[in-house]
Structure formats: structure tokens, C-alpha cells
Symmetry: C2
Subunit: 323 residues, 2 copies
């Protein structure tokens, strides 16, 4: 028996694989390595119970062939579908990228599961499906769902395909609406961006927007804890959960100051204007995690602690040195 | 200046084109003629202000080329995107049909509009995006949205792509969540199904399910009236409206009896079991049209009158004779 992870070479995929292997599971992972990195998998590939193949999940035929080959040897009992385009600006410039790498990967995953009769999916959705609801409380049943980025649109499209598949051929589906997840190995995101900018120009950090934008951040260790908690405890056939930290979050200003303090103390921070950083970014965000709390889960790190830990990890990742 | 209709040879597309031409608009229509029928367009093609091309909207390149060619002569100011796979059982058997004909047609329409800077879309969505919410009142902001058919999933996916496009390059978007629409020329649906069955076996009509399933039905004339009312009156940048009749609806039993009475009086009706007709069908359905009523619109026909009118029209369509 085995668990399959799509997008295993990405930030969350690699961490999830390590956790599942640590719990004694057999894990198969695919990745097209467009954003995920093979180096992320080096520690995993030493383990006998881990297998990896480079497969482009947007190509239905090769995907089915590769998964069937493994499935015949070790029956796959569930799929953790994490593969997606996580480069949101790239999707803004070319909607075809999100179509292919975020949505068609989901569609093909579901078709492959149907063909191989794999009964359970856990899908990494996103808080971006909610769009900009002007500060309204976002629970799992809030509507309307008018995403404002192609990324959010293709995540909502994927959720829809998952729920239709749950009606037709799946036994159970888990939909995790991810928050801003931070940690290492980072491939994108505001902390990595700030660290790289500050290494290039150590005396000055330029920030998009006025720095007032506040979001809750969750460390990847807590994210994986939450998903596995839901997987184990939820009894709904379609288990849809917002996952996030449970504090007021932290501002971009806090992150900028923490990165400067850790990497280049005394550097000037130059803010832009307005509350939005880029098209598709949602300035006010009131994300309910009441359902997850009611299931008995609490994060170990608050937003600020998560940010500080992630900054340390990303500085190590980028510089090879502890800050 | 012109209005573009995708899926113009379909049931609703042909009726919409006729209405817009009657109001003095110039209309361009595309259809791949997979479900739409060229004969439906015969009365329209006599009009100088109507143009038609056979184009498969799932093919991005030919779509853009064909629309650009027309757009250079007559500037297209808005798009009414109706093209979709309306054959729901076909989509159940092969999810790729809904992917291609319902979702990719929308994706390509939005990309084409971006390339040609066409600012306004009116999109035919569906009540199927709501899935089975166990009788809960379905308003435009009800959630969660867990569609239970591939058709509903690809309509929700399309809505998501529309709202993301509204954030990035459209001026305005209209999302019409269609009810069960009836009338002629019918290409699918329960009335056509019953008429055809009864012509094949005039003494006996077999019905899926126990006949107790109740739905509100809207005649296509009222549907088009509602859409044009919303187009004219709504001021929201994303104008999303449930459209439906405003009565308690009618049961499958009522439809079966009315078809028998009109076409083959005295025929026996044989019911199946259970409240659901097929996978993806939603037995209890409480569809709010409060938002549309507040905008000042009322249907001219109730569900039962709409059914009776549609039965007469479909019998003429199928037999060439008035019942």
C-alpha cells in the first residue's frame, strides 16, 4: 500500500513526504520539476519506501501510464494532490500557465484515480478561491466565490472537479483551503523575495504597497499537522476546511523589519503606495478557522513566530549560513 | 458595432440572436455544430445584420483568428457566451467532454476578449453550480459550492475564470445562473425525451425516478427577457443572478401527464424508484430569485404554463403537426 503525492518536489510536497515517511508510510511522488526542485528530494531519495518519477501531470496519457505501473506493485490508497502553479505573477501574465499546471493537473489526477479506482483524494486548495469579499468573515460555506486571480480561479475550478468526482467515483475527498504558508525550502513568497532583494542591495529594501497589508501566516510544519489531523478526525465525505493560524496575523511591515533585522540590520525600507501589492492580492482578509478549531486542532506557532522561523530557514537556504 | 454570441446554433443562442436582431443589433454567432443545429439558424441567416461561422471554441487559435477578422469590420462590444456541452449524460460518461466544450470554451473566450480588448461578457452559468445543498435556500451568495456533476463543475470553473478576468481585463461581467429552461428548438431535456419515447412506444411512457422530483421551469422567452432586463438594469461590476420562475415548480409526474395528454392520451406511465433521475440530478431544490425580483423582473409564464407551451412547441418540432 502506498500514498501518492503530486507536486512532491515543491515546498509543501517535500515536507509532506518527509512526514509521511517518518510515520512509516510508503510514498510515491511525481513532479514535473518546473517549480519543484530535485535537490529538495535528496534526503527523501535515500529512503527505500520513497519513489520519485518526473512526470508532467498536465499530460493525461503519461500520467496514467506511470501511476498504473507503480499501482500494480504497491496499491495506492490515496492521493495527495499538491501540484499547481505556485508562481502567481506568471499566471497573471499568462492564464494558460494556471490552466495547465493548476487545473488540468487536477482534472487529470481525478481521471487517473477513476481509471485506477483510487478512492481518496486530499486536495490543496487555497484561500484565494474567496476573492475579495471586503473583509467579510470567510467560513467554508461563505459565498459568493468570485476569485480575483487566475490562480484562485483554477483552484476553485479544481475544487469543483473534485466534488463532482466525489459524487461519481471517489469515496472521500479532503479539500484544504491553504493560507499563506511559510518555511523552507521556499520557492516563492514575500520572505524569499525580501531576502533575495536585500542580498542584492543590502542597504535598501523596496516593498510593494504601503506595508499595512495584514495576513495570517502558518508555518509548513503546522500546515502538515493540520492536514493530517483533518485526515484522521473528519468524518464528512467531502471534508472542506480552511487552514490558517488563529491570530490576527502580521503586516508586510513586520516581515520587512524582521528580514532586515535578521539579514542586514539598519537597511532602509522603502514602501510603495496602497494596500494591494499586485493584481489578485486581497488587502483585507478575515479567514475563519472555527471549523478546524472545533475539530480540536491548534497551531504550535503564531504568525510572528512562524515568520521568524521561516526567515531563519530561508536565510540558511539562500546563504548557507545561520543568521 | 456588434454583439457576439458563442453557441448561437443552440437552443438559447438561436432565441437570443433572434431577440437581439429584433431590437436592431448586429449579431455575430459562432458554433461548432456538435449539438447546435444549422437549421436553427435558417430564419436568422436571411437577415443582413446576422453573421455566422462554424468555429470550434475549444481551439484557441482559430477562435481568435475568426473573431479578430470580424471585429476589424464591426467592433464587438460584448460577448454572450452560451457555448457549452448541454448533454449532461455525455459528460457523466466522459468528463473530457465538459472540460473541452463547457470549460475550455469559456477559458478561450476570455483569452480572446483579452486579446481583442472586448470589455463586457454575459455568461450562461447554471443552477448546477450549487450541487445538492439538501433543500437549503440557494441565493447568489450561498455556499459551499460543491457541484455534483461534471457539467456543474465546469460551469463553476467557468464562473471562476470570468471573475478573475473581470479583475484583470474586463469592464463588466454578467453571470446568469440558469434554471431548467424549456421551449423550442429543443436539443435535450425531459420534455423532448418524453415526446420521443412516446412517439416510439405510444402506449407506454417509462420515467426515470418516481416522478416526485419537483423543479421550477422557465420558458426560454422569459429567460431571455430576464437576461436583457439584468443587462440593462444591474449596476454591479460582476452582476451574478439566479434566474428562474417564481413559483413552486412542477413535478416530473406533471410533465409526464401533460406530454401524454397532448401526444398520446391514455398511454400508461411507468415510474421508476427514488427521487433522483440520474447521477448529478438534484432532488430537492430551493432556488431563490429574490435578487432578480428586487431588480423588478417577473416571468410572464409560471412553470406549468411554460411546460404546456414548450410541449406544444416540441411536438410541432418533432412531428411537424400542432397537437
Amino acid at each position: 500500500m502506498a500514498i501518492f503525492i503530486s507536486g512532491v518536489a515543491g515546498f509543501i510536497g517535500g515536507n509532506l513526504a518527509a512526514e509521511l515517511l517518518g510515520r512509516g508510510e510508503r510514498v510515491l511522488g511525481f513532479d514535473n520539476l518546473s517549480l519543484g526542485r530535485i535537490e529538495n528530494l535528496r534526503p527523501l531519495r535515500r529512503q527505500a519506501r520513497f519513489a520519485f518519477e518526473r512526470v508532467d501531470l498536465a499530460e493525461a496519457g503519461p500520467y496514467l501510464t506511470a501511476l498504473r505501473r507503480f499501482h500494480r506493485r504497491h496499491r495506492i490508497t490515496e492521493v495527495w494532490h499538491l501540484a499547481a502553479n505556485s508562481d502567481i505573477p506568471a499566471g497573471l501574465a499568462d492564464a494558460g500557465i494556471d490552466l495547465r499546471n493548476t487545473f488540468l493537473t487536477t482534472f487529470n489526477t481525478l481521471e487517473t484515480m477513476k481509471a485506477l479506482a483510487i478512492p481518496v483524494i486530499a486536495f490543496a486548495s487555497s484561500s484565494a478561491i474567496y476573492g475579495d469579499l471586503k473583509g467579510a468573515l470567510l467560513t467554508e460555506s461563505t459565498g459568493p466565490l468570485f476569485p480575483i486571480s487566475n490562480y484562485g480561479a483554477m483552484k476553485l475550478a479544481s475544487e469543483a472537479a473534485v466534488t463532482a468526482a466525489a459524487e461519481s467515483h471517489l469515496e472521500r475527498a479532503f479539500i484544504f483551503r491553504f493560507p499563506n504558508v511559510i518555511g523552507a525550502p521556499a520557492t516563492h513568497g514575500v520572505i524569499l523575495d525580501f531576502v533575495r532583494k536585500l542580498r542584492a542591495t543590502p542597504r535598501r529594501l523596496a516593498v510593494l504597497g504601503d506595508g499595512s497589508q495584514r495576513k495570517a501566516y502558518l508555518h509548513v510544519d503546522d500546515l502538515i499537522g493540520a492536514m493530517l489531523h483533518i485526515r484522521r478526525r473528519s468524518r464528512e465525505r467531502i471534508s472542506c476546511f480552511n487552514i490558517a493560524g488563529q491570530d490576527r496575523g502580521a503586516t508586510v511591515r513586520f516581515i520587512a523589519e524582521a528580514v532586515v533585522a535578521a539579514l542586514s540590520p539598519g537597511a532602509a525600507i522603502a514602501y510603495g503606495r496602497g494596500g494591494k501589492g499586485w493584481v489578485g492580492d486581497v488587502p483585507r482578509f478575515n479567514y475563519s478557522t472555527g471549523k478546524l478549531q472545533a475539530l480540536g486542532w491548534r497551531p504550535r506557532l503564531g504568525s510572528r513566530e512562524a515568520i521568524r522561523r521561516a526567515i531563519r530557514q530561508i536565510i540558511v537556504q539562500e546563504t548557507g549560513k545561520n543568521p
